[in-house]
Assembly symmetry: C2
Homo-oligomer: 334 residues x 2
């Protein structure tokens, strides 16, 4: 790996052809005599020429970089997504620009603008609430695939979990195990709201009425989950089971349960979303809906690359099902 950069011009001179010919050899090899092609290839090899992607990008008005915008890469769900996105992009010769928004619409807008300025080929994003609200079809100068959160208005590629169904199954499982006073920690993200709908639906279809004192809206953060859980269990008749809509809230809930020296599931069952390292390591292990994170990221990337290749194809919304993992934290109520 030499420090000196060799340009197409130097290759052309060394091979005794024009830059156009070198470019043709490198792009498709069409319209070049085999003999010349050989000679150019050899020269490319000998000089260690590598095309300057910036120049190529400027000329062709597109790049091989895609953006990935998530709220926080530290959230295990997004960590897994990003790994899948990077893998899939790499396979197809694309690279990934990583952006964390912390659910901050302003930061998100800055990143989207930046990507525009960089001429990215497209982006995969988990949009903030504000952005979801303002979404109109051709808002962006590059294709976008939405993951995790649904866009109500707007015709856009998306990869989503069937959240209502997943929550319904998870809560139904609790009911079948004998739990009746089921609390819920929801968030105001679209995901959280859909999961809440599944929760309420499960209660109702089993003759249970959702009670407001058993439902709390919280920011999707550990501390918020911790605080809300304490509030929920420090009452006369606390829930006998707790349903949280993501793993961060579940961490907070578990901390609160430990703080009050309660036992899971005897004092309170605990179920949540998202497979994490800790969920199967704690005792009892946590019952949850595992999202097919890798598949979500992979599918989103594939959708994006397909759209980049053909901007006019009809949009596609892929809906995946979660997988119920039954473990000790929701053992039958004794």
């Amino acid at each position: 790996m030499s420090a000196r950069m060799v340009s197409i011009k130097e290759v052309a001179e060394a091979a005794g052809v024009s830059t156009a010919t070198v470019s043709r050899v490198l792009s498709n090899g069409l319209h070049v005599r085999p003999e010349v092609r050989e000679r150019v290839m050899a020269t490319v090899e000998r000089l260690g020429y590598r095309p300057n992607l910036v120049a190529r990008s400027l000329r062709s008005q597109q790049s091989n970089t895609i953006g990935l915008i998530v709220s926080d890469i530290s959230n295990p769900f997004f960590t897994a997504i990003s790994r899948a996105v990077e893998d899939t992009a790499y396979e197809q010769g694309f690279s990934v620009l990583l952006c964390n928004t912390d659910e901050n619409a302003e930061k998100e807008a800055i990143y989207l603008n930046l990507m525009r300025d960089m001429s990215v080929a497209g982006a995969i994003m988990s949009p903030t609430r504000q952005t979801i609200a303002n979404f109109t079809d051709s808002n962006f100068p590059f294709p976008i695939v939405v993951v995790d959160r649904s866009i109500s208005n707007g015709d856009i590629d998306a990869v989503l979990l069937d959240n209502v169904d997943a929550a319904y199954r998870l809560v139904t499982h609790l009911i079948e195990q004998g739990y009746r006073r089921i609390g819920a920690l929801c968030s105001e993200m679209s995901t959280g709201l859909e999961r809440q709908i599944g929760y309420e639906k499960a209660l109702r279809s089993h003759g249970l009425a959702p009670k407001t004192e058993y439902m709390k809206y919280v920011a999707p953060k550990v501390e918020a989950g911790y605080a809300a859980t304490l509030k929920m269990i420090d009452v006369a008749e606390p829930p006998d089971a707790l349903f949280t809509v993501n793993s961060l809230l579940a961490v907070g809930a578990l901390q609160a349960v430990r703080e009050r020296s309660l036992s899971i599931p005897d004092d309170m069952a605990l179920v949540t979303f998202d497979e994490t390292t800790w969920a199967s390591l704690v005792q009892p292990a946590i019952t949850l809906i595992a999202q097919p994170t890798y598949e979500i990221g992979k599918t989103a990337t594939e959708l994006l690359l397909q759209r980049i290749a053909d901007p006019n194809r009809p949009t596609r919304q892929v809906m995946l099902k979660g997988q119920l993992q039954v473990r000790g934290s929701s053992a039958p109520r004794g």
Copy 2:
């Protein structure tokens, strides 16, 4: 956000000046009459002009993108690093290209070449063993800061943990708690080897002899940790404490311990490196050396940006200390 791209030329025409003047206004504002500056600014605003970063990058031969090369973003250590890197880069107007190598030197080389081709401003990397071995000073056409792993030969910016010291303290803690037969799960990464040195040093300085049957080299993966731990505990005289050099191995070790229904710390103590969500959630919680991950990532980014600004400054190797978190998994031997 309009789809049409407005160029500096259009701004120049609309403002009745040359592109050079517009460029000057935008870059530093020097050598422009205040009145003209105002007019240009207003036009920029009115047309919603944003400079094309690709063109700028081509012309100036540098970009505002930095590369981040890690073995696997899913490893909590690297997740935290990447978050810190992205935050710090963002603050200074840089964006981050994320790359996973899976310890594959070939993939790493491909990424480094790609970054060269993209004219990144620099890169932060946790190099593979092979790359470490072949490191010579000016191998790369852009500045690099190494994190986590030390480069023996070569004068390069780096941010490292004092691994020997950290392991020494962690193992000394075990000894002080009364453990004597201390096993170790190491890896062959430079980090693993240094931690092993600290481990052996701690044993020796407390009159204990390192025994080969208590030391295993494994790939830094959960499954490898699981398998190695089983082998280590399924013997006549198993260790009374286990020291693992990273969190993935500890997960495997914990799985093995659960599999054999052993109790921590009564049957065997467990200590490791790296703070993770699960380490404080399992019962008993795990004693460990917490690395200042955020600080490592932040410092590495700062070093890189400083070097980008001044390529000739002397290199710096920042060494940080780990923090011993004493928890239940290493309670005094009863």
